[in-house]
Amino acid sequence: MFSFYPTKNQTNFLAKWQAVFAPAKLYFLYLPQVVRRQQVIKHYHKLFMQHHLNKRLGIVSAKNDVLLPYLSVRENIMLNRSGSAKKKQQWQQGSKHDFFAKDASELTSSERFYVQLYRNVFAGKDIILIDATLDDYLPAEMRAALIKLNQLVETSHITLIFLTANQELLNSEHEQSLHTIPFTNELDSKKG
């Protein structure tokens, strides 16, 4: 679609972003404080807004009430259908969960996470920020979840960025873990 915003700026920003967060990969940012995680998410959202790229950025919130109570789980996932038909088809074939039939209010925290994640994939977001402590996962569960997420990022060609306080997870996934938060110079200078 035609845009008044110069595409050169968008391309430059995306190139810088993808130099740090490569496409189709999983990243973990260490942010132990809830407030700081929210600040970073807002800051990244602002950055994408400034470059008119907010359509590409998805957010998975840690809040409990992120689903519309009057819609089924499936309808909540398909709230925004601007994603490509190919991705939708992939999702419909590959993602089978028993919680699809549940009421939005009955979901557990991990089910809420998957609903939000699929919602973003379905909406065509290719960079997804995830605010998650990931403390309530058992190691075996966590491993299974990571295998699933790795498959998802590869098949859907999306970048998942976890903003987490789970130090163990960061140590085990040290190749994709970042302890210093990129693109936050402005935020840090404001704070300072």
């Binding site: 600040q39 807002k42 800051h43 959202h45 602002k46 807004m49 359509k55 998805g58 957010i59 919130s61 009430d65 992120v66 689903l67 519309l68 109570p69 009057y70 819609l71 309808e75 398909m78 709230l79 925004n80 259908r81 601007s82 939000q116 919602r119 973003n120 909406a123 977001k125 935020l187 404001k190």
Partner: protein
């Protein structure tokens, strides 16, 4: 079609709001239709009155000398103009109430809109859905009102005829009220001079006070008013809801970005 499903799911969930909106829309529709029907009845009477004056005035050209006729002409014109004003007040009053109701609803549903924004929906999409909810409510209410009025149309239209008659009688000055209540007397003898050497199908009483309603009509005779109310009301509801939701959602988006 998913947006339609969401609209109905939301309307069911926010049933109290839907009910209140329905009541307001019913008041506007019934009030507006009644005003327009009374205006049409009075317009018809005014047309007939002017037509009859033209008949008796053809040769003598002195009917305007009679202050009674001038008074009656002004009374009928005033009723037509007043009904027009009442319809305008109803329309803008309804607009104001819809705006207030929308603002209250938007504030109550702030979190819901944040969820839509979190799901990547833009302000235009969210506002469109909210406006669609209100538009559907208005259209559904319109159909219900029309069906109910069709069931009681004889009673309703007789009521409108009586209302028109009552309004007309109440607007008459004392001298015309006396004329209306008596069929003979000095005043009538003077007034009937107007008919000297004239052959007409009406007498003085009919000329002055006839409302021109000969046969019982049906609501279908006033279908143009129903369409006017439907399109004007729908356009108003959609615009007010869409604009208020757009401004509110834009505000939520800006606030959410503030660190």
């Amino acid at each position: 079609m998913r947006v339609i499903q969401r609209v109905f799911a939301s309307l069911r969930y926010h049933w109290r709001y839907s009910l209140l909106f329905g009541v307001l829309a019913t008041i506007f529709l019934v009030g507006g239709l009644s005003t327009l029907i009374v205006q049409a009845l009075q317009n018809q009477a005014l047309g007939l009155f002017e037509q009859r004056i033209a008949i008796i005035d053809q040769r003598s050209n002195n009917a305007t000398r009679w202050s009674i006729l001038r008074q009656l002409l002004h009374i009928r014109q005033a009723i037509v103009s007043d009904t027009g004003n009442i319809y305008n007040y109803l329309f803008w009053g309804f607009a104001l109430l819809i705006l207030l109701l929308s603002i209250i609803s938007l504030i109550q549903r702030k979190h819901e809109f944040s969820i839509y924004q979190l799901a990547g929906k833009n302000t235009a999409d969210i506002s469109f859905q909210f406006a669609l909810e209100n538009l559907f409510l208005f259209v559904i209410t319109s159909f219900v009102v029309v069906i109910v009025l069709l069931c009681v149309q004889t009673l309703y239209l007789n009521g409108m005829v009586q209302l028109n008659q009552y309004w007309f009688t109440q607007s008459l000055p004392a001298n015309l009220k006396t004329l209306l209540q008596s069929n003979s007397g000095q005043a009538w003898r003077e007034f009937n001079q107007l008919f000297q050497h004239q052959f007409t199908t009406f007498n003085g009483h009919l000329l002055l006070f006839d409302q021109g309603i000969r046969s019982s009509s049906s609501l279908a005779d006033y279908d143009r008013f129903l369409w006017v109310l439907l399109w004007q009301g729908s356009a108003l509801v959609f615009l007010v809801s869409y604009l208020s939701a757009s401004i509110y959602n834009w505000g939520i988006g800006r606030k959410a970005l503030r660190t």
